[in-house]
Amino acid sequence: MSQSAEILLLCPILVPFLTGVLALFFWNNRRLQRLISVLGMAATLAAALFLMRTVSSTGIQVLQVGNWPAPFGITIVADLLSAVMVSLAAMMGLAVTVYSLAGMDAQRESFGYYPILNVLVMGICGSFLTGDIFNLYVWFEVMLIASFCLIALGGERAQLEGAIKYITLNLISSAIFLAAVGILYRVVGTLNMADIAVRIQSAPGGPATTLSIMFLVAFGIKAAVFPMFFWLPASYHTPPAVVSAIFAGLLTKVGIYALIRMFTLIYPEGAVHVLIMVIAGFTLVCGGLGAIVQEELRRILSFNIISHIGFMIMGLGLMDAGHAIGKLALTGTVLYLIHDIIVKTNLFLVSGVIQRLQGSGRLSSLGGLYHARPLLALLFMIPALSLAGVPPLSGFWPKLMLVRAGLEAGRYLIVAAALVASILTLYSVVIIWEQVFWKDKPESRVFDRSPISDPLPRSAWLAYLLPVAALALCTLAIGFWVEPFSVLSERAADQLLDPRGYIDAILPNLTEPGPAGLKGAP
């Protein structure tokens, strides 16, 4: 592979890193930090889109760090799923950074908000791009420590309470993940994911099921699936809206990505897929039921995050039901990821605007926004209806695929759970619509933060509405022009279902007899 393509593969990691470092140099100059950050995120997005074009046209891209051949060094690899996820991460990074120009207060900005945000994006991109399982752990930690800082930045009481729960659960998850990596290394003697996939088939039975369950638990906590989701609604509504927007869009999806990678590449079959399906069903229904009783805007949305994670996990669980159904299900999962990242980020961004306008996130204190801000109401309605899966919008297509896959596989219970969850989502969105937009502004109100008394300057409105409108346009585009996106998802699903391409790209010399003494480690 050519030198330029290798550098391209590192760009989504390097550019946010350099941006973060550069922003640190101008600690006292917030204006310059903002400028650097916006430019850096735009450059990351450009690099990510270029990477996706390269992967889409020339196939899987691989970089062996330090030129150490595959099983020995760390491999950076981008297949279509990775490229799509990196592009989405960079896109959300840019949207959130632009929104921060208006949505982030001066105090948090002057305590290193922009550098940490860049490090977070770096960690997320690194997790998507690495081909080494221990390196995945390291990227998780990079991402986590940045997210710890972001969630606690500002030090309000609610934030600190939420941060304790968030940090504790994530550290437990990391410990389980690390232990599983250690045992896996004992069983297969390698850390390279492609190499693991090859060797685990010939590895003696051993603790394969135990290991896969450990990975399921570790990534499941990060993805907030059914029994391990309670940290999410306890913490996601506490930081400023812009921080919860990037968390909602990307952090749980890193867990999903890791689950997809694990259970397509390393454990493509086994009893675990049935378990995943059961978990998906409970996640769908529990998240949906949780959402409809909440009294706070972002807590409703937090429970909706959980509910919709069930859809993506459901596709993964349906994977073992034959090739055609599995392909349809995985296509649905990938398309759902694309749709969900955009829509969830957008909804949290809109909730931030609402909170800024009315000084509260509680439904009982909100109201009358439809008259006051019809444009905002429209911009809320697009992602909200898309979230519920109303036909012409982006949420409809992946749901259709997943439900079809479920019906063809004869798994009616999971289909029922998915449909119930959709209705519950629609209901929760209607509650928000009724309470926040239609209802008259209530007389007595409780303020979390002081509402703005003077009208927002035009530039602040632009910074608020530009990312929201851009993401809403993406939703509309995916909805009305779904063909290219579904083809892309289908190709990504093909690569996931047949990991030989992935393995061959990383270990090109696998079929040739290698030096015998070196192969048998440990």
Partner: protein, 123 residues
């Protein structure tokens, strides 16, 4: 030796989890630290114990029997994990201290505001 270490790992996990289920945030921190140590020791034990064997190959050797060298990778993994764990725990201690000062209690049962339906103080 492996058996002994396995027991130590088990005890560390049990102690860590027990501490985490207490209500005090100090015990939560200690529990998190023990959990990290248990995991590191688990990797160390799982990586295979060997005695008096260097992790190097003699210069010029073409092929080396696999058993004769110690595997340096688990140690490298643990070293990385220790460094990461150190950073994360340091951060957590500062955060918990800050939470203690802001909330005014070290009792986790008192820190339930964010779990309410309204997501904040009051009903």
């Amino acid at each position: 030796m492996s058996t002994l270490l396995a027991i130590v790992v088990g005890v560390l996990y049990a102690a860590g989890l027990y501490m985490m289920m207490r209500r005090s945030i100090i015990k939560l921190i200690i529990g998190l630290a023990l959990l990290g140590h248990a995991t590191n020791l688990l990797i160390f034990t799982a990586g295979g114990l060997s005695r008096g064997q260097p992790a190097f190959v003699e210069q010029g050797a073409k092929l080396v029997p696999v058993e004769a060298i110690a595997d340096p990778l688990p140690q490298a993994l643990i070293l990385t994990a220790i460094v990461i764990g150190f950073g994360v725990q340091a951060f957590a201690i500062v955060l918990f201290k800050r939470a203690y000062q802001t909330v005014g209690t070290d009792d986790l049962n008192q820190m339930r505001q964010t779990d309410r339906l309204s997501g904040g103080p009051g009903a």
